[in-house]
């Protein structure tokens, strides 16, 4: 079988062959011809035109009505030709935009990259997956010389490019705070000012900031309207919601955040997440928070990184590999 050539002369040949043999081979070739023509931006009206010419050549006595009717058909194909041209144009434009976004997404990755610190006695797992190319969730670990561990977790309203842009603001502002200002409530208060000043009124960010002190074995934290995490009591095999109410960043000019302290026991876990985890949707059904906890429970015995990866994979499959929101999950286990 010779390969199909893209030229209108060839259409005539294939058509003639089909009229003689009436078999599937010619139709297969018609299909390949069709595919090639689209790729080469040949308008459908041109194909109709060649069809008319070929018919006239094959049947010189072709009834006038038939050829008239085909002229009418040709006229009705013009908009399809325009649509095809716009299609090719949009494909080019789209792929340009996508490559721009992928450069930006890479930049963002470099920018927001954080190293899971090696803190004695802690097992840390973290995963953050954007729904689209760019991530509107953000997490960051800050370990200092004294061995304390700061954990920032934030979710900016919405997804995509605008969210990513806002997220980089949090990152730079955090970077700029003086080293001695590590109190969760203070950090949130400062960030609230930055966010309020710099973004649009309808934009806001939810954030959780926690500080683990290995000496006192305590976890201090404050929340700016962030989706509550969980505290896992290993001895009782029970989860408890980490309650810490506080206003989202950017809603008012000044606000204060209450700071809480928990004592952390051996084998207990701190589980932090964004609403992309708890607001999974399967088809039209929402996953209830209880179900989410059940899934976490199923994997909590694993090393922390394996645990977060497994939970993510579970929900990814459940949602048919199509996240609706950025997904971030952090598990911190006290090993000693």
């Amino acid at each position: 079988m010779e390969s199909v050539k893209l030229d209108l002369e060839n259409y005539r040949k294939l058509l003639k062959e089909y009229l003689l043999t009436n078999d599937e081979t010619a139709l297969y070739q018609a299909e390949q011809f069709s595919k090639l023509s689209v790729q080469h931006n040949i308008s459908p009206e041109e194909i109709i035109h060649v069809h008319i010419e070929a018919l006239k050549e094959l049947y010189p006595e072709l009834p006038r009505e038939v050829s008239d009717s085909l002229n009418f058909l040709l006229e009705a194909m013009i908009s399809y030709g325009l649509a095809l041209q716009e299609y090719q144009f949009l494909r080019a434009k789209q792929s340009e935009l996508e490559s721009e976004i992928s450069v930006a997404a890479n930049m963002q990755k470099t920018l927001l990259s954080t190293v899971k610190p090696d803190i004695k006695g802690l097992d840390i797992g973290a995963i953050s997956v954007p729904a689209n190319s760019m991530n509107g969730d953000y997490y960051h670990f800050v370990a200092d010389k004294e061995g304390t561990l700061g954990i920032a977790l934030a979710d900016v309203i919405g997804k995509g490019i605008p969210a990513a842009l806002a997220m980089s603001m949090i990152k730079y502002s955090m970077d700029s705070f003086p080293e001695n200002q590590r109190q969760p409530s203070m950090i949130l208060e400062n960030l609230n000012r930055v966010v309020e000043r710099n973004v649009d009124p309808s934009m806001f960010i939810t954030m959780f900031y926690g500080l683990y002190n290995p000496e006192s074995e305590t976890f201090s934290y404050a929340s700016a309207g962030h989706e509550p995490g969980f505290y896992y009591h290993a001895s009782k095999d029970k989860f408890e919601e980490i309650e810490a109410r506080g206003l989202v960043l950017g809603a008012t000019e000044h606000t204060t955040y209450q700071q809480f302290v928990n004592h952390i026991k051996k084998d207990d876990c701190i589980i932090l997440l964004t609403d992309g985890v708890t607001e999974c949707r399967v088809g039209d059904r929402f996953i209830e928070r209880d179900e989410v906890l059940q899934v976490i429970k199923d994997y909590i015995h694993l090393p922390a990184q394996e645990a977060v990866d497994s939970v993510y994979k579970y929900f990814e499959r459940l949602q048919d590999f199509h996240l609706r929101d950025d997904f971030t999950l952090i598990i911190i286990r006290k090993k000693v």
């Binding site: 035109h49 040709l74 013009i78 325009l82 649509a83 716009e86 949009l90 434009k93």
Partner: protein, 133 residues
């Protein structure tokens, strides 16, 4: 060079008249059926624009017959409200009216050469040329 007959556009029927005249010129000039249909569609779009947005105006034709090129020029003129942001109207990809790539970007695609001048409040003049190949 060439004649310069015009069709006034006042009602929807006039669009058909402009197409008819344009098609006759196109045939005479030796355009094939596909190009005839494209020219007719371009005329429709230009005339419909006048009919819908300017109320009245005219579509004129000019035969181009030079040594190196032969073709048909369509000129659409109106004294309507004009187009404030030409670059937006001509934005390719997806056209005005939520509809398909017709509208002016469609005309530009259907023809070989396209030029537009418009002043807000003063009206619009569009020239589009199709060359015989």
């Amino acid at each position: 060079m060439g004649f310069n007959p015009c069709v006034n556009i006042r009602k929807e029927w006039d669009i058909v008249g402009a197409r008819q005249l344009g098609r006759e010129h196109a045939k005479e000039l030796g355009f094939g059926t596909v190009d005839q249909a494209r020219i007719a569609t371009a005329i429709s779009e230009l005339a419909r624009n006048i009919y819908l947005y300017a109320g009245t105006g005219k579509i004129c034709f000019e035969v181009i017959n030079q040594l190196d090129k032969k073709g048909l020029k369509i000129i659409a003129v109106d004294k309507g409200p004009g187009i404030r942001d030409i670059s937006q109207v001509m934005q390719d990809g997806y056209s005005t009216s939520g509809g398909l790539g017709a509208g002016l970007p469609g005309v530009k695609r259907l023809m070989d050469h396209f030029e537009i001048r418009s002043e807000s409040g003063e009206g619009t003049e569009i020239e589009a040329i199709k060359l015989v190949r």
